[in-house]
């Protein structure tokens, strides 16, 4: 959702080829004067050497993406995301966009100047409704349509040239900081514009704008969760300074909620269709998250997702999270989560496996072996069959 390096102009320039992340929100709600003019020509062709060069670069990135082992080519998932994109930005505009869903747990999305949209599996995991997906896609499409990457490239080229000349004087270094700040300010303006444009698209498509803030609130809560677990200062505090490429989450939440309050009630949220579409991918995406070694963030994420959706896979993931941390009290909690998952769906082999391994550590060998045998019976091709069979006292 946010670039890794926030203070490195060079990286930002390079990153612009793959525009920027999605939305996120301090208190005063700014007046949104249009910063740039969108392009409406379809199909749009790049104009001038700079834009053509930028397209050429991202075309090369796209060429590599097509054969990436991380690419999720599931037609059902791709078809669903595309249908939401088309509903949000319009059939005519959406036809020219090319969508790539990538398996990586970072919650991020981007749209390049050449109409290539990248959506990470981590972002899909952080969303709970179709309206939230529409807000992400609408925001990214606004970056494309307003040609933000090109405009930022031109702005940074202009300012970096001035910076280089100033660097030859005594005050050059001080001036460089000022130039960097002004570039980030420019980037923040474009993000605000994409946020507002995305919100307008959501409303036009009949989606509830209030949903757009949920992923930002979740990410802030995750930062706080990580900080609490690692006994460190939360990223939320530095984010509130809003001195990077994006406005602070707090600001984005504030102006989005102000805009959403104007929308008439009854707009579509679409939790059920979104959950159905995510369906078979959810266990894998959850596993990717649990194994990121960020207990605090994963704990918050899974708990908040469970408040809005009720998949037993969330309980299995929560069990796995506590079982693998294994601090005092964690194993009892893990056994509880697995038990709830099995109460909701008695046929989940991985819940049996998790509970079996947990009970084994808790010294409840007979119950553990029963669960492990049930896991083996339900998973004839399990990769750990030989090991689990040994624990369960069975021949593999």
């Amino acid at each position: 959702m946010r670039p890794t390096c926030r203070h490195c102009v060079g990286v930002v320039i390079a990153a612009l080829a793959v525009v920027s992340p999605v939305h996120s929100a301090p208190a005063p709600v700014p007046e949104h004067v249009p910063v740039t003019t969108p392009v409406h020509a379809t199909p749009y062709s790049p104009e001038g050497a700079e834009e053509q060069g930028l397209w050429m670069e991202v075309d090369e990135t796209e060429r590599r993406l097509k054969t990436s082992p991380q690419l999720i080519s599931d037609p059902a998932l791709n078809g669903y995301v595309r249908s939401v994109l088309c509903r949000t930005v319009g059939e005519r505009q959406c036809a020219a966009a090319r969508l790539y869903i990538l398996r990586t747990p970072d919650a991020n999305a981007s749209m390049a100047p050449n109409r290539m949209i990248q959506l990470n599996s981590g972002m899909l995991l952080h969303l709970t409704s179709e309206a939230q997906l529409a807000s992400v896609l609408g925001h990214e499409f606004a970056h494309y349509e307003h040609r933000h990457a090109l405009l930022f490239f031109r702005e940074s080229k202009k300012k970096n040239s001035a910076s280089l000349w100033l660097a030859m004087t005594g005050i050059g270094l001080l001036a460089a900081f000022g130039i960097e700040n002004s570039l980030f300010r420019y980037s923040r303006d474009m993000e605000r514009e994409a946020d507002m444009d995305g919100l307008r698209r959501m409303a036009a498509a009949g989606y509830a704008q209030s949903e757009a803030v949920a992923p930002w609130k979740l990410l802030r809560a995750e930062w706080d969760g990580t900080a609490a677990e690692r006994k460190r200062r939360s990223h939320s505090i530095s984010d509130d300074k809003a001195d990077g490429t994006h406005p602070s989450m707090a600001e984005r939440i504030a102006y989005t909620e102000a805009e959403a309050a104007k929308q008439a009630p009854g707009a579509e949220i679409g939790t059920a269709p979104y959950q159905a579409a995510l369906g078979r991918w959810l266990p894998g995406f959850l596993d990717d998250q649990v194994k990121r070694n960020d207990f605090g963030a994963s704990d918050v994420l899974i708990a908040q997702l469970a408040e809005r959706t009720h998949s037993p896979w969330l309980l299995v993931a929560h069990g796995d999270l506590y079982r693998t941390r294994a601090q005092p009290g964690d194993l009892d909690k893990a056994a509880g989560f697995y038990g709830e998952a099995l109460a909701a769906d008695g046929d989940l082999p991985l819940a049996r496996r998790g509970r079996g391994l947990t009970l084994l550590k808790l010294g409840r060998a007979d119950e553990a072996k029963a669960d492990l045998r049930a896991y083996l019976a339900r998973s004839p091709d399990a990769p750990d069959r030989a090991m689990i069979a040994m624990l369960a006292g069975e021949h593999p």
Binding site: Q70, R230, K291, K361, D384
Partner: protein, 205 residues
């Protein structure tokens, strides 16, 4: 001599003086190698190249053609609270740590979580987890594959790990799935099978 050349020569001399630990050495078939002054002893079943500075204390890296093509990572006596790899970013991206309460069934998960952080592994797949022996101790052999984030190359690996005296012992081989893994993993597994543990004499007070 110009200043930059003098600086380069001085750096080279300093590096050369400090090099015994950094230099690659040949391991011949039948050589007995004590891994990083630890309890693990490897009797080489075939020739390898060896460097004694591994990713953590008490570890070594062996290779045939270069670590990007085939890497044998041997780490011994990893104590509780220590990671499997060097931690580049302890504050923001810490690696999971080995705990002496772990059982063999916890090790595949420890490996995967370590690789997801330390080697930016995505699309990680565990192909097999089997009981095994390492130096006569109960062990687990894990076969896995993964793609580093943003990379087009799939890596395959096999590791035999045991917990001996509350400390983690592992011998791990990893290579690109394309050609190198299939060619070399049997040779690496022979190294795993040639591990023994020694008793380190305790110094008299």
């Amino acid at each position: 001599m110009k200043a930059p050349i003098r600086l380069a020569c001085a750096t080279a001399l300093i590096l050369a003086a400090a090099s015994p630990a950094l230099a690659w050495k040949l391991v011949n078939q039948g050589d007995q190698v004590i891994i990083g002054k630890t309890t693990m002893v490897v009797t080489a079943p075939s020739g390898w190249n060896r460097i004694t500075t591994g990713y953590v204390t008490g570890s070594e890296i062996w290779t045939i053609d270069g670590t990007l093509l085939n890497e044998l990572y041997i780490a011994s006596d990893i104590a509780a609270g220590k990671p499997l790899l060097y931690e580049f970013n302890k504050k923001d991206n810490p690696l999971p740590k080995f705990a002496d309460t772990m059982q063999l069934t916890d090790l595949p998960d420890l490996l995967e979580r370590t690789w997801r952080v330390g080697r930016k592994a995505v699309v990680f797949k565990t192909d097999a987890v089997e009981p095994a022996k390492l130096g006569g101790h109960d062990a687990v052999r894990i076969r896995y594959e993964y793609v580093p984030d943003g990379n087009h190359l799939t890596y395959k690996g096999v590791v035999t790990a045991a917990i001996v005296g509350g400390q983690l012992q592992l011998v791990l081989f990893e290579a690109p799935a394309l050609f190198y893994y299939d060619r070399d993993h049997v040779r690496a597994e022979a190294v795993m099978d040639g591990v023994t543990f020694r008793v380190i004499p305790v110094a008299k007070p």
